[in-house]
């Protein structure tokens, strides 16, 4: 049960949130893309072992979307930030295992 820092409500249990996959994948201008580029936008997301910037929504709380650093191996939680604000530095090397909790 992850303990997730909602930027509006503070630390809350994972069951109050929905996951929104990789953060920072902006909706592209659809008609400038080839079929394969469009398919990549639709279906391909980063899935590293290690630190990943993710989108989450606090659906059972404030209902707001935000971004979060999370380590996909150790499940460590890093800082959260609001959409369209500056992304904080990754807590460790991206794409590498951190230490276990």
């Amino acid at each position: 049960m992850l303990y997730i820092p909602c930027p509006h409500c503070g630390l809350r249990n994972e069951t109050e949130f929905h996951y929104g996959a990789e953060a920072g994948v902006a909706y592209p201008e659809p008609n400038t893309l080839t079929d394969s580029e469009w398919a990549k936008y639709l279906h391909i997301r980063a899935n590293p072992k290690g630190w990943l910037a993710e989108r989450w929504v606090h659906y059972a709380g404030c209902g707001r979307w935000f971004n979060l650093w999370r380590n996909t191996i150790t499940h460590e939680i890093g800082p959260a930030w609001l959409p369209f604000t500056t992304k904080p530095k990754a807590p460790g090397n991206i794409g590498q295992e951190g230490p276990r909790v």
Binding site: Y3, H43, R55, V57, W65, T74, H75, R100, V101
Partner: protein, 891 residues
């Protein structure tokens, strides 16, 4: 202490309240508790607690819980149990006991109230922290308690500290990310029939702790030798505790087999309690330390480089003699004994640590896997961390060399009856990984999940392959640490409380009218309204005829409704829906379809423009929450520049659908201030009106193809409007209808239900709805329509289906195969689609269906075959609109 009676296998036994049932049974001389699951061999108590692999019983008193070890059941007034061989039985009556759950946030959680746990609690209390201390035993002290000793005064003070919550009989079952712990507290079984009726039997604790200290202790482990499963063969610490603390007097002569100094301490306890210890047989070449000196001083014979090879039994199957082997000369001697106390070293309880992925490390010095893990959030203490506290000096030893015949009765997992012979066969079959061997042999898969057998398996594997346990590694333990009753996890969320129930303001009317309900999500919706003596089929036909020929009414309040306001609302809806909404005049309604970015239809519904910057969107009943979430996601994460506000108003606005040729006339009697005529109030228009001075919004929306009016009214006024319709409706033959009739009516018109007539792969084009896709604007999903696979031939498309037998309603979900197509090269008949909606139409006088068929829109008139059971039903593909293709009825 006073004695009370309890019953086991219908016989009465005496015991002290609070002591383990196993102790009371042993004291009364009952050595054999049950027979083993697969081999049928007599088995008795082995251990002291949850590690017990043998002595499973079923409660007959109270909740009748199955598969509890007799070592953890406390003697209490009214206790009744029976022996159990392997597989438990569920009681035939519903669980009546109460269960609950609670949450707790603490600074520090300490798991284990032994010496190490108590000291950790003291440390954290001294630092000013709030501490929770949980322990699965009936009292604190851990090992001290098993020695029958009192806590030192300093630690008794810890327990009285105001910032400490101490819970006994509370077992941590799982450790999860960010120090989240689930624990189950047993609150009433130990009180027997004195337990208050309203007390929860088990409370599930969900604990979030800033810091966690794991002081979970260790289990003693057995040794692998021939016939190591007889009643009378116990772990030495358990044997000594039963004799010295619980007054078990049945054992007269004991043999102790050991690999460490713990065996000496237990031998001394047995000796002091009056048991004749024939000898301590120690695999080590020599041993020293206070424990050894004390045993020797008491006159207990000690023999090094010797261990137990085999055992013999009396006619009752209990231990009768022990065969000792000299490990240097291989000579054997036989010794008569009724107790064999085995000390195979300690296995620290690493389970919780491994739940979050910590890998235990092998320590040859401790002959054990340890977790000496320290971070600022989690640390281990006591035996788990390698602090064994004594002079143990164990040898890494798991049992003597055994020949094939001996290995057949050398048990590794007593509950599974899995032997060394089977483990050797697994290795012989080429299995190396401990996880594979576990699955091949079933070792460690019983109720105890390998608490004693896991380490023996690793040890035996090391002996076979000349490896160190560090090379093999431990098994992965997963939560829960002990079995948890489902009733405890359910808590009070059972029966009617298992899921929230949503009802409309007309619910009570439906109940009084005798409606049969169906669940749609959490909503209770009337399914049909049977007249006395009427079945579903007859009721639905009657309701359909009323809607098509007279007037009928339905409660449509469960429709999802989202109020959308803001200067950019129209722009926003243009991006969300495949069709245009910015051109929709105020006071008019439009059907819309929304797709995900991949071009697949996601939801549909009618949206009404109430003002320049104000829309009311309706969604499918089940889709309301996910549509609102979808709108919010785009507004928040992609288009923050749009000024649009979305609010769920599903439960603010009740909706009554009045349907049928006579609906206009009936409604006009109630509505005095608005002209409902065709000319004054066209189809897909919306009007503000009043009924008895109550503001209503009436819309000419039809989900049946008939002339129809949707009356929207504030939730609390719905019953009044509904009653007024009924007061006037008698003269019109007004008929209430439910969801089944709604489905027949909408399917006759080829109106889809997203999720029933779609399977998550349909574009609007596949649903023959190219008219709903705007060519003039961008919207979510549009780009995907250009992708080759969405334009390919052979996609599943929505069509109608007319069964050859007009009375045969084909089951929904049935596969459709090609007529006259024989089996392919693999001998299979390929399917070409499936039935999505299927009903009997009173209007058509026949059965009909909607279906998704590969390339179906180009296959009109084709005969297909629908295999149902052993029958091959004939059907013909047709247009999905069965009634009134010209849309003449709706006016």
């Amino acid at each position: 202490m006073s004695e009370i009676s309890f019953s086991f296998d219908d016989k009465s036994y005496k015991g002290h309240p609070g002591e383990p049932m196993a102790a009371a049974l042993l004291r009364s001389g009952l050595l054999t508790i049950t027979n083993s699951t697969y081999h049928g061999r007599p088995r008795g108590v082995v251990g002291l607690g949850v590690e017990e692999p043998n002595a499973l019983v079923q409660l007959v008193s109270g909740t009748m819980e199955s598969m509890l070890p007799a070592t953890v059941i406390e003697v209490a007034a009214g206790l009744a149990a029976r022996s159990l061989t392997g597989i438990g039985a569920l009681p035939d009556h519903p669980e009546e006991a109460r269960y609950d759950k609670t949450n707790r946030y603490v600074d520090t959680l300490v798991v284990g109230a032994g010496l190490a746990g108590l000291k950790a609690a003291e440390e954290h209390l001294r630092a000013g922290r709030e501490v929770m201390l949980i322990d699965d035993q009936p009292g604190p002290g851990g090992h001290l308690r098993q020695l029958g000793q009192e806590l030192p005064p300093a630690l008794r003070e810890v327990l009285a500290h105001k910032n400490l919550t101490y819970l006994c009989r509370c077992t941590a079952t799982g450790l999860y990310d960010q120090n989240y712990i689930v624990a189950i507290e047993r609150r009433s079984d130990h009180l027997g029939n004195a337990a208050p009726a309203n007390r929860a039997r088990i409370r599930v604790w969900h604990i979030r702790a800033d810091q966690v200290v794991l002081a979970t202790g260790a289990f003693q482990r057995p040794l692998i030798f021939a016939n190591n499963d007889r009643p009378g063969i116990l772990l030495s610490h358990a044997a000594a505790t039963y004799v010295a603390v619980h007054g078990v007097r049945g054992f007269r002569t004991a043999v102790v087999a050991t690999v460490d100094n713990q065996g000496y301490r237990d031998a001394l306890r047995l000796h002091k309690a009056g048991v004749t210890v024939q000898g301590i047989y120690d695999v080590r070449p020599g041993a020293g330390g206070p424990s050894v000196d004390a045993a020797r001083a008491a006159g207990i014979p000690v023999r090094f480089r010797a261990t137990v090879l085999d055992t013999g039994s009396n006619t009752a199957g209990a231990l009768d003699n022990v065969i000792i082997r000299d490990l240097d000369t291989n000579e054997t001697i036989q010794i008569a004994a009724d107790l064999l106390a085995v000390s195979g070293g300690w296995t620290p309880i690493v389970d919780l640590a491994t739940h979050i992925g910590i890998k235990p490390k092998w320590s040859a010095e401790h002959a054990a896997f340890l977790v000496s893990h320290t971070t600022d959030r989690l640390r281990t203490a006591g035996m788990l961390a390698g602090d064994f506290g004594g002079d143990d000096d164990p040898s890494v030893y798991f049992g003597p060399a055994l020949d094939e015949e001996q290995s057949r009765h050398a048990y590794i997992d007593l509950q599974r009856d899995a032997t060394l012979h089977e483990l050797r066969r697994a290795v012989g079959a080429g299995l190396h990984s401990i996880e594979h061997i576990k699955r091949y042999t079933t070792i460690g898969t019983a109720h105890d999940q390998g608490k004693t057998s896991g380490m023996l398996t690793i040890g035996a594997l090391c002996q076979l392959n000349a490896l160190s346990p560090g090379d093999v590694g431990t098994l992965s333990f997963r939560p829960p640490y002990v079995p948890v009753p489902f009733a405890a996890l359910a808590g009070r969320e059972r029966g009617p409380l298992s899921d929230p129930i949503r009802i409309t303001p007309l619910h009570q009317w439906h109940v009084e009218a005798g409606a049969v309900f169906e669940d749609v999500g959490q909503w209770k919706r009337p399914w049909y309204f049977p007249e006395p003596g009427e079945g579903m089929e007859a009721a639905v036909r009657r309701e359909c005829v009323a809607a098509r020929e007279g007037v009928a009414v339905m409660d449509a309040s469960t429709l999802g409704k989202i109020d959308i306001q803001g200067p950019d609302a129209a722009v926003f809806l243009d991006r969300i829906y495949t069709n245009m909404f910015s051109t929709l005049p105020e006071g008019q309604c439009r059907y819309g379809v929304m797709c995900k970015a991949d071009g697949i239809v996601f939801d549909d519904g009618v949206t009404t423009r109430l003002g320049k910057n104000h829309f009311l969107m309706t969604t499918t009943t089940g889709g309301a929450a996910r549509v609102l979430a979808w709108l919010e996601e785009w507004l928040q994460t992609e288009w923050p520049d749009l000024k649009v506000y979305c609010t769920s108003v599903t439960e603010h606005i009740a909706t009554i659908a009045l349907v049928g040729p006579k609906s206009r006339q009936l409604l006009q009697e109630l509505v005095k201030d608005t002209d409902l005529s065709k000319a004054a109030f066209p189809f897909m228009h919306s009007r503000e009106a009043t009924i008895d001075d109550i503001p209503v919004r009436i819309a000419r929306i039809s989900f049946s193809g008939e002339l129809a009016f949707e009356i929207n009214v504030a939730w609390g006024y719905a019953r009044h409007i509904w009653e007024r319709l009924w007061a006037l409706g008698a003269g019109y033959g007004l008929t209430a209808y439910g969801t089944e009739t709604m489905h027949v009516l909408r399917a006759e018109k080829g109106y889809i239900i997203v999720g029933q007539d779609t399977d998550g792969t349909q574009t609007p084009y596949d649903l023959n709805m190219s008219w709903v896709v705007s060519k003039k604007k961008e919207f979510i999903g549009k780009r995907s329509f250009q992708l080759p696979h969405l334009k390919a031939a052979g996609r599943l498309q929505l069509v109608g289906l007319l069964p050859g037998n007009v009375d045969e309603v084909i089951p929904e979900g049935a596969y459709i195969t090609v007529h006259n197509a024989g089996p392919d090269e693999q001998g299979k008949t390929p399917h070409t689609g499936f039935v999505t909606s299927s009903y009997y139409s009173p209007m058509l006088g026949r059965a009909f269906a909607l279906a998704l068929v590969a390339g179906g829109l180009d296959r009109m008139g084709e005969d297909v075959v629908v295999p149902v059971g052993k029958n091959l039903l004939r059907a013909t593909i047709c247009d999905a609109v069965f009634i009134d293709k010209e849309n003449l009825r709706r006016d």
